[in-house]
């Protein structure tokens, strides 16, 4: 087990290094310098700026400096807004995204597991066909389709909830639901499939034969084992919700990291794009690592080679 984790950690570090290196060299492929504006900057100022950001150094030295910065957690300045660094932006906006993401994950796991379990208990019944049909429907709807539809129905037409912006808990409902809907469907399907497998096991039949109620058998005996695939999906789920938030935050005008990322792409604010990409990459790679480790911990059948 220890060796397995060490191997995964090594893999994670290599993956991160690849991401950082790829970002660095891709950044240098972008045509034009970061200070080339429509109104040209005076030569002396440009020179000073380049000196400040080490752009006059040879490529390999810049690369080393960049690696050094990243290891120390410095993701660089924003060239569009010189008074802010990428770290500032992340510090300010990531908590917003995390809050939104937290509620979305909570909704998705709770509703998904409940729906999946109920469907498995009533396999082939009306509830089962109904919820599985909606599951496949919601898997087929990307969040950038769900979000505007929610916005239109509940905000514009019914006036139940605010159309956009951020502040009170009411502002959170629509974006959290838009983010949660797809993952809810995935979790419901996962839970149902693994629940059906577990329910056919002898120990579940034995529990039933001893006269325990259906609900007790489900919660005490079946759920624990049936949830293994669901728990391992949890970390990829968090990753998926965060990438989904790129668009949802943009649509609902929420000041989270996703919106900043998309805005910096629109503005071609390259240093912010690079910095946030590295940050997201580190985050997602960490989620992958956690997923692998929980999977190995929960399922003893996995071999750690």
């Amino acid at each position: 087990m220890g060796r397995f984790i060490v191997r995964r950690l090594a893999l994670m570090v290599i993956a991160l290094w690849v991401v950082v290196t790829v970002t660095f060299f891709l950044a240098h492929m972008i045509p034009g310098g970061p200070f080339d504006r429509e109104k040209p900057v005076p030569e002396a100022i440009k020179k000073n700026l380049e000196e400040k950001y080490h752009l006059n150094e040879p490529m390999w030295k810049q690369y080393i400096l960049y690696l050094n910065d990243i290891i120390h957690g410095d993701l660089g300045p924003s060239f569009k807004y010189p008074d802010r660094t990428v770290n500032d932006i992340i510090k300010e906006s990531f908590p917003v995204s995390a809050q939104l993401g937290f509620w979305a994950v909570l909704i998705a796991t709770f509703v998904g597991i409940s729906l999946g379990s109920i469907s498995a208990l009533h396999q082939g019944g009306l509830i089962d066909s109904f919820s599985m049909f909606f599951a496949i429907l919601f898997i087929s709807l990307p969040s950038f389709v769900i979000a505007p539809i929610f916005q239109y129905i509940f905000g514009v037409k019914l006036h139940w909830l605010p159309v956009a912006n951020w502040g009170s808990w009411e502002h959170m409902i629509l974006p959290a639901l838009s983010l949660a809907l797809g993952p809810t469907a995935v979790i419901a399907r996962l839970t149902r499939a693994s629940m059906l497998e577990v329910l056919s096991n002898d120990y579940v039949k034995a529990a039933k034969a001893r006269g325990l109620s259906g609900l007790r058998v489900l919660i005490v005996y079946a759920l624990k084992n049936a949830l293994i695939p669901v728990v391992t999906y949890l970390f990829p789920l968090i990753a998926a919700i965060f990438t989904g938030s790129f668009v949802v935050e943009k649509i609902f005008n929420i000041p989270g990291l996703g919106r900043y990322y998309v805005t910096s792409i629109y503005n071609r604010d390259y240093t912010v794009i690079l910095g946030v990409t590295v940050f997201y990459a580190a985050f997602l790679i960490l989620m992958n690592l956690l997923a692998d480790i929980t999977y190995a911990l929960l399922d003893p059948r996995i071999r750690y080679e």
Partner: protein, 319 residues
């Protein structure tokens, strides 16, 4: 030898002396016996039979055909070019002349959605090809060779797999600039990874089967073993994975177009159409609704078909 067995053997010998047993069966009886045997069913015939019984899968298949016709034939018969602006028909709601309405410069949305669906399907087709060619061959070779080669090939996949694809694709698009070809390049670079893993694990199990050993003993070459015996038998999970991954590729393209990294104007993809429509959601909701519905229908069709294929390819999984 016990008494009982001896007796029964005697009876057997007596039976065999019966002349009538050695007579040929009359022709009429033969015909009747033959009529009772079921016609031979091939594996794929069996799959098709099970697929046909799955209502949702058939709906998905029909939907897919309709979408294909809509995207491929539609633009040929549509009276409007996708980029023709008509300032006399701005933001018209859906009507007879424009079934999906018109946009803010009077372009026919129905035609634009057709072209968008074309792009989506092209992306889906590309993703399928990348998986089928690169993914299957890479995974096949890795699993078949085993040992050091497998180790190195899989470590490369592991590392690439750990990298968040979407972020690198976004970055590539920022650097390469928007455009359909660049989307193809960026997607093609990454889309084979999952498939390579699936094919490898399939090949690893199949490799140990007796029919492969038999083929090997009979002197089949590596190429023949791989292309004739191993890959065809791994085809079930491959086809299901391809079908279920196509919506992901289509979503990725739509997402990229949505955040302004996709095809450039006046060309339109479903993602950029939906993105443009969001600004008009209060005044002209159809601008967002129709592209969004189309993309959902495409994904739904592939998911229905993929689910149906999984159930009919491996009936053991069916519940």
């Amino acid at each position: 030898m016990s008494e009982v067995v001896k007796v029964s053997m005697d009876i057997r010998v007596e039976e065999l002396k019966d002349k009538s047993l050695w007579e040929p069966i009359p022709e009429s009886e033969k015909m009747g016996a033959e009529a009772l045997t079921a016609p031979q069913v091939t594996f794929w015939g069996d799959v098709w039979r099970r697929f046909r019984k799955n209502r949702l899968a058939v709906i998905g298949l029909v939907l897919l055909v309709i979408i294909l016709l809509f995207a491929l034939v539609g633009p040929l018969v549509s009276p409007y070019p996708y980029d023709k602006q008509d300032y006399n028909a701005i933001l018209e709601p859906p009507n007879f002349a424009h079934p999906f309405g018109t946009d803010y410069v009077g372009r026919d949305l129905f035609t634009r959605v057709m072209y968008g669906a074309r792009i989506s399907l092209a992306v889906g087709f590309l993703a399928a090809m990348v998986q089928l060619v690169i993914g299957v061959l890479y995974g096949g070779i890795s699993g078949f060779m085993g040992g050091k080669v497998d180790e190195i090939m899989m470590r490369i996949v592991d590392i690439m797999y750990a990298i968040p694809i979407l972020l690198i694709v976004i970055l590539l698009m920022v650097v390469l600039g928007p455009g359909l070809v660049n989307i193809f390049l960026a997607l093609g670079f990454f889309y084979w990874l999952g498939m390579a893993r699936i094919v490898r694990s399939q090949i690893l199990t199949l490799k140990e089967e007796e029919f492969v050993l038999a083929a090997r003993v009979l002197g089949a070459s590596t190429k023949r073993l791989l292309l004739r015996h191993l890959i065809p038998n791994a085809m079930g999970p491959v086809i299901v994975t391809v079908t279920l991954n196509i919506p992901n590729a289509i979503f990725t393209e739509a997402f990229l177009s949505y955040i302004g990294l996709g095809v450039s104007a006046p060309m339109a993809s479903l993602g950029s159409l939906a993105s443009d429509g969001v600004e008009y959601i209060r005044t002209a909701p159809w601008l967002m609704l129709f592209p969004a519905l189309t993309i959902a229908l495409i994904a739904l069709a592939f998911n229905f078909v993929g689910d149906g294929l999984r159930d009919s390819l491996d009936p053991r999984l069916r519940r």
